[in-house]
Every structure is written in C-alpha cells, then in structure tokens.
C-alpha cells in the first residue's frame, strides 16, 4: 500500500486546496468542548461540499475544501462549508472558532478522539498528543511531477516566515499571553519528526531517503513526517503546514491565494536554485516570524542580508502579481497587501479584543462569533 502511496500522482498545475483545523467551543464559558463526533455525525446527514473529518482530540474538527483553480471559487466554497458547519454546531449548542490556539483551554482536559491511529499517537507521544490541540491551515498546491514538488518545497521554505507572519493567530495559550504572534508552531517543534525535508534534489533521491527511514522503522507513511512543508504524493501536491488557522474563512482563502500565486511564480519562472543556506537560517527566520510577526527581521539566504519581514512580503507580492492576475487572484492579493501595509493580523486583533473586554472567555467568544459570521472585523 505504501509503495503505491509514494508514487507521485500528477495533478493540474497550481491547483489549490485547503484544510482547516477548527476549534469546537461550548456555549457556556467558551472553553473547548468535546462534541466532534456529534458534529461530524450531524453533518453526515446533509454533507456540505468538501469533507469534514475528526482530528486528534475531541475538541477539533477538520474541514477540507475541494480542488480549486483560484481564490474566488475557493472562498465561495469555504463560505458554504462554514455556513453548514455553523448551522450544525448551533443545533448542538456548540460554537466553532478559527485561530491557531484556544486562548485558555488546559491541555490536561483534552481527550483523544477514539480512533486506532490517534490512540497510537497518544501512546507514542504521551502528553504531546494532547498538547497537539492546536489548529493549523494546510494549503495544498498541485504539482505536475515529483521533481517539481521537491523543487517547490525547497523554494517555498524560503517563504515560510511569510506564511507564519500572515496567518499568525495564536497569541494566547493555556490562559497566558505568550508574547508570540504564532505560539502554535512552538508546540509542533516538540515532535521528533517535525522540521524540514532533507536536502534532496529529485523525487528519486527523496524516495531513497524515505525508504531508508521506513527501513529503520522510524516512519510508516508520509503522514508520520510533521514537516513545515511536505510533498503529498497521493494527492500530487506540496502541502504547506505552517499557517495558523485564520479567524475567518475569507482570510484562509487569501492566504491560499498568496501561496498559490507564489507557487505559480516559482514553478514557471524558476527564479531561484535550492540552497542549503535557506536551511541554515531557517530556524532563526521561523522564530522571528513566530515571535514578532510582520515586525520580524529575517535574513534573506539568497541576498545574504537582513530584511524586514513586512517589506519582504510586500516585495514578493509585487513579484507574484502577474501570476496572481493569471490565476484570478489579483483582487485577493490587493486586499492582502492592504492588510500587510496596515499591519493588521489576526493575532493583533485578538490582543485588541482582550484589551477591550478584559477576559480570555470573551476573546474565545468573540473569536467564535467572528468565524461563524455573527460579527465582522471592523476595518
């Protein structure tokens, strides 16, 4: 089975798909609830487009979009899914929220969703499995072949700080302000198989690496690698996993449009060659993005100099603009650009809500109001 799984299934170039891990909150004190099975069961009676799946703990649910050519159909579908999920949640008197972390839940209260795989993860990783109750957005970009996927993975690694800073929405963890814009990725880093793809240059070389790891009994499938970006051969995609789940599906679609436009630029223009320096500087840059968001300072491995993360993103937006237009993502990226210039992120919005209301219960409440479309972010 795993032999076949690692055959890279080509897919339509630059197609895009999104997975969103979401929070299920109770309506009483807005702590995480445990109603994933009921919610999924109810949605099975009238399935929305895409797919709704369980995640590692009973407080999480994962929504998958279908495959899209660009931003507009993606955001339309995500809205349809959101409305269906919101409606089902309301019948069960639970709430759904975006955001990379729940502001005040205690990981000791979490319960593993009872499937064979999740129970295995709990027995292997112990408390880390429960701490893994964090919420990410995964963006899949279609690739024509395995070699292209390896190339895209290496080049996108340079842009990982962009994805982190743009999506950052986990300033609070376990009832505390972490001082980070995205605290979620610190939790991911604790896993032994997190990190980055090894510096291989072709799908063939990657397969050799994978077979070696499997031969040692370290992994069974690609699922066991918790890399920031990983090839997904069975979908024929490269999967970017560093995004915090944004507070709205609209923001999720903007981020997907950015990744898609950037990937089109990388695969058609081939502007850069994979560089080991990207990985030498990787953890520094990633930390800067997590800690300071758009205000972070990264080191550009190719230009060999420091750069403001905000400026770097704005420059990249300008470079990929023609590709965005080709894909029909022009307006979306213009909107994203305005947000970056204004310095608006989900993390700063959440901190603003906390200042205004004074309690993290209120943050979680307003956070879920926002995702379910009951309130809007004031411009």
């Amino acid at each position: 089975m795993s032999e076949a799984a690692l055959e890279f299934k080509p897919s339509a170039g630059f197609s895009v798909g999104v997975e969103l891990e979401l929070q299920i909150l109770n309506s009483r004190d807005y702590d995480l609830a445990r109603d994933a099975a009921d919610l999924i069961g109810l949605l099975e009676k009238a399935p929305p487009p895409g797919a709704v799946k369980p995640e590692i703990t009973e407080s999480m649910v994962e929504l998958n979009s279908s495959i899209h050519g660009g931003h507009d159909t993606l955001v339309a579908e995500l809205r349809t899914i959101r409305d269906a999920v919101t409606q089902a949640a309301q019948r069960l008197n639970v709430r759904i929220a975006g955001g990379g972390s729940h502001p005040f839940h205690m990981w000791t209260d979490r319960r593993i969703y009872p499937t064979e795989r999740f129970n295995r993860l709990l027995s292997l990783y112990g408390y880390l499995a429960k701490q893994f109750t964090i919420f990410g957005q995964h963006v899949h970009i279609g690739c024509p072949d395995g070699d292209a996927a390896i190339y895209l993975t290496h080049i996108l690694s340079r842009y990982v700080p962009h994805f982190i800073a743009l999506s950052a929405s986990s300033p609070f963890q376990q009832g505390e302000d972490t001082a980070y814009q995205s605290s979620r990725l610190n939790t991911v880093s604790a896993f032994p198989l997190s990190g980055q793809i090894p510096f291989v240059h072709s799908w063939k070389e990657f397969l050799e690496y994978f077979e070696k790891m499997r031969g040692y009994g370290i992994v069974e499938s690609m699922k066991d690698f918790y890399w920031d970006i990983r090839p997904k051969p069975e979908y024929g995609t490269v999967e970017i996993r560093v995004f915090d789940t944004p507070l709205t599906v609209e923001r999720a679609a903007l981020l997907a449009a950015y990744a898609q436009s950037l990937a089109r630029h990388v695969l058609t223009d081939r502007p850069l060659a994979p560089s080991r320096d990207v990985y030498v500087l990787y953890n520094h840059n990633r930390f800067q993005a997590c800690r300071f968001g758009l205000e972070g300072t990264i080191v550009d491995a190719y230009a060999q100099r420091q750069a403001s993360l905000k400026d770097d993103i704005l420059e990249t937006l300008a470079v990929v603009a023609p590709h965005a237009t080709e894909l029909g993502n022009g307006e979306a990226l213009a909107l994203l650009r305005a947000e970056v210039i204004a310095g608006r992120t989900d993390a700063s919005w959440l901190r603003g809500v906390h200042r205004e209301h004074g309690s993290l219960n209120d943050v979680a409440r307003v956070q879920s109001d926002l995702w379910m479309g009951r309130t809007a972010i004031p411009a």
Binding site: N26, S27, R28, A37, L42, R91, N93, S359
Partner: protein, 401 residues
C-alpha cells in the same frame, strides 16, 4: 460547683458548626467506602451513611438535627440550581425547538403515566395527580453533582441538564397548582387557592430576577476579575436562598431563575462564567447525607410495591417522549437511550413538600407519603448509578467518580 462554672453546660447545646463538620466527615467516609467496595458514585455513599445515621438507622441524626442542618442543605441546593440555571441557554431552545418540545412532552408523559398507574391501583385522583406532579422533576442535585464529579461534557450531559431545568420548573408549577386544589378540597378560601401559587411563582421569579440584575451590575462595576465575580455570585446565591426562605418563596425556582437570567439577560457579557462547583462540593456532601437521614426506610414496607409501580411508570413516560423526539434534534444514535437513564434521578427536595403536605393533611400523609418517599429512596440510590452509567457510556465522562 462555682469553681467549675467556666465549664460548658452538659448536655452540650447543638452546634451547627460541629454538626456540619461531622456530617461532612461521615459523608466523605461513606462515599469512599461505597466507591472502593462497590465502584458506585460517592453520592450513593452519602445517602447510605445518612440512612444509617438517620431515623431509619441509629437515629444519631434525628429530625431535630436534620432541621438544624437545613441551612447547609439550602446553600447546597442554591449553588446547584444556580449552576443548572447558568447552563440553561434560551437561544438553544430557539435553534433546536425539538429539545424544548422534548422537555415539555417528557414532563407531560411522566405525569400522565404515573397518574394513570396510581389510579389503576385505586389511589384517589387528587393524590395521584399530586404524586405524579412530584415525579415530573429530575433531581437537579443528583444530575449536576454527578456531572461535576465526572467532569462530563457532551450532548447527553448538556441535553439532560436542559431537560432537567425544564421539568423542574414544570414540576414546581404543576405541584403548586395541585396543592392549591388540595387546599380547596380541604375548604381553604378561594383567595388562598388562587393567590398562593401566584405569589410563589411571581415572587420566586422576581427574586431571581433581582439577584441576576444585582450580579450583572456588580460584575460590571468590578470589571473582569474572576475571583471578584465568584465571590459576588456566591454571596448573591446565599442572599437569595435566605430571602426565598424568609419570604416563603421557592428556593428552587428563585435560584434557577437567578442562574438562567444572569446568563440569558447578560447581553454585554458582564458576568464572567464562574465555577461555583468547587465551593459547592462541601455543601453537597451534607445535602445528600441529610437527604439520606430524612428518608424513612420503613416506608418501603408500606409503600414499596406501589413505589416500584410509580418508578416504572415515571421511567416509561419520560422515555417514551425522549425516545420519540430526540432523533429530530439531530443527536447521534444512542443518545436518546442514555438520556432516558440520565433523567431518572428523583428529587429529594420533594421530600420536604410531602412532609409539609402530610402535616397539613394527615390523610394525604397516610395514603401517599409512603409511596412517594419510597420512590425517592429507591431513586436516590439507583439514580446516581444510572446517570453515571449513561454519561460514561456516552463517552462524556472525563474521569472516574
């Protein structure tokens, strides 16, 4: 003799503090023995130790001490009903009308089934109706406490709590009205018959409303401090319980209204969600020990067989409605069956009412108290076990009780 005048008089006057502490210790020991030897919820142990110490057993905790301890029982009930009220979300009933419908229908069918069953066994209609009305309510105390002990969370838990809030109110209203009717049978004036239920209902609701308004205003003034809001909530709960007693209103209805209104009228979300359960657990132990002590095992001899009929008819009525309507609420398969079990506990608060009625109308006491009290006795012991089983089987319990 005068040299020893500093010594306290003997026998010692009853000290509420010593009584509270000792009842607490007795409950803890009883609860732990039951949990270790039988694996049952601690509540069962509290009740059993109460039965053993009460008039049915050693008579250490006699009727006089039970009256002394009543203040602690009231505080416990106040905390529990406030908590139940806080969990009541009116918006949920709008979004899922089937849930509200289930609450009304299961109350109605429980009443009808018990009423008909008792009629069949030739109980006088008015008495049968009053007994049936008492049976409408699920015990908020048993359900809330087992939920807290198990840290249970999920659809069975939340639905059982909401249904219990509904059936508690319906039980209160219908038994109050029937009591008035009973007064009339015994030639009370029409003014009493009409005004007493109105006073009870409106007064209790108004008291709950005032408490809720005070809680929100104080919370707004304090700002978001968890400790402050906790103290304000507890203080107002105690005040409301005391006021309800003084004004001879319903503690149950006033506190339920306080909790529910403090949540559902708080549009600005001024009052933080506070956890009074931790504070309440001390009083809860005493509540169940005293409940056990005030039950009369002897009643089983006279009322046992009919009590069994009563319990079964009540279960049948509730289950019929829950099994019939829960599907429309979009709940998972299996939820309905477990909900039926979770709704079985019977309220010991009805004991007080039965006693009072029995005092007023000795005829009633002779014919019916035995049945209702036996049923309560059975359900005080079986109820917690049923709730624990249901919540565990639903996968909603976070830990062993």
């Amino acid at each position: 003799m005068t040299q020893l005048s500093f010594l306290p008089p003997f026998p010692f006057p009853a000290s509420p503090l010593v009584l509270f502490g000792l009842l607490l210790l007795a409950g803890v020991v009883g609860g732990e023995i039951v949990r270790r030897t039988l694996g049952l919820p601690r509540i069962v142990g509290y009740v059993l130790i109460g039965l053993a110490l009460g008039s049915s057993g050693l008579n250490v905790v006699d009727a006089g001490l039970v009256r002394e301890a009543w203040i602690f029982v009231d505080i416990a009930l106040g905390l529990i009903l406030f908590e139940l009220g806080r969990r009541l979300d009116f918006a949920w009933f709008r979004r899922d009308p089937w849930l509200a419908a289930t609450g009304v229908l299961e109350s109605a069918l429980a009443f009808v089934c018990v009423f008909l069953a008792l009629l069949y066994f030739e109980v006088k209609p008015l008495y049968a109706a009053l007994a049936a009305a008492i049976g409408i309510a699920t015990s908020p105390a048993v359900l809330v406490v087992v939920v807290q002990e198990l840290k249970a969370e999920g659809q069975v838990t939340e639905r059982a709590l909401s249904l219990t809030a509904i059936n508690s109110v319906i039980a209160f209203v219908s038994s109050t009205m029937l009591l008035s009717w009973l007064h009339h049978e015994y030639r009370a004036s029409w003014a009493t018959v009409v005004l007493h239920p109105v006073y009870l209902l409106a007064g209790s609701l108004a008291l709950g409303y005032l408490a809720a308004m005070a809680a929100m205003a104080l919370a707004r003034w304090l700002g978001k401090t968890e400790r402050g809001h906790l103290v304000v909530s507890i203080a107002l709960i105690v005040v409301t319980v005391g006021a309800a007693r003084t004004l001879e209103l319903s503690v149950v209805l006033a506190l339920l209204a306080f909790g529910a209104l403090a949540r559902n009228l708080d549009e600005r979300h001024d009052l933080m969600p506070v956890d009074v359960g931790w504070f309440g657990q001390l009083f809860v132990v005493v509540l169940f020990v005293v409940s056990g002590a005030s039950l009369k095992a002897g009643a089983l001899v006279t009322g046992g067989a009919l009590a069994l009929v009563y319990v079964l008819a009540r279960f049948a009525g509730k289950s019929l409605a829950v099994m019939g309507l829960t599907y429309f609420s979009g709940a998972r398969g299996g939820t309905a069956g477990l909900l039926c079990l979770a709704l079985t506990p019977m309220s010991a608060t009805s004991v007080g009412m039965v006693h009072r009625t029995a005092q007023l109308y000795p005829d009633f006491g002779a014919t019916l108290a035995a049945i209702v009290l036996s049923a309560v006795l059975i359900m005080e012991l079986a109820g917690p076990v049923a709730v624990q089983f249901a919540l565990r089987r639903a996968g909603e319990a976070a830990r062993a009780a």
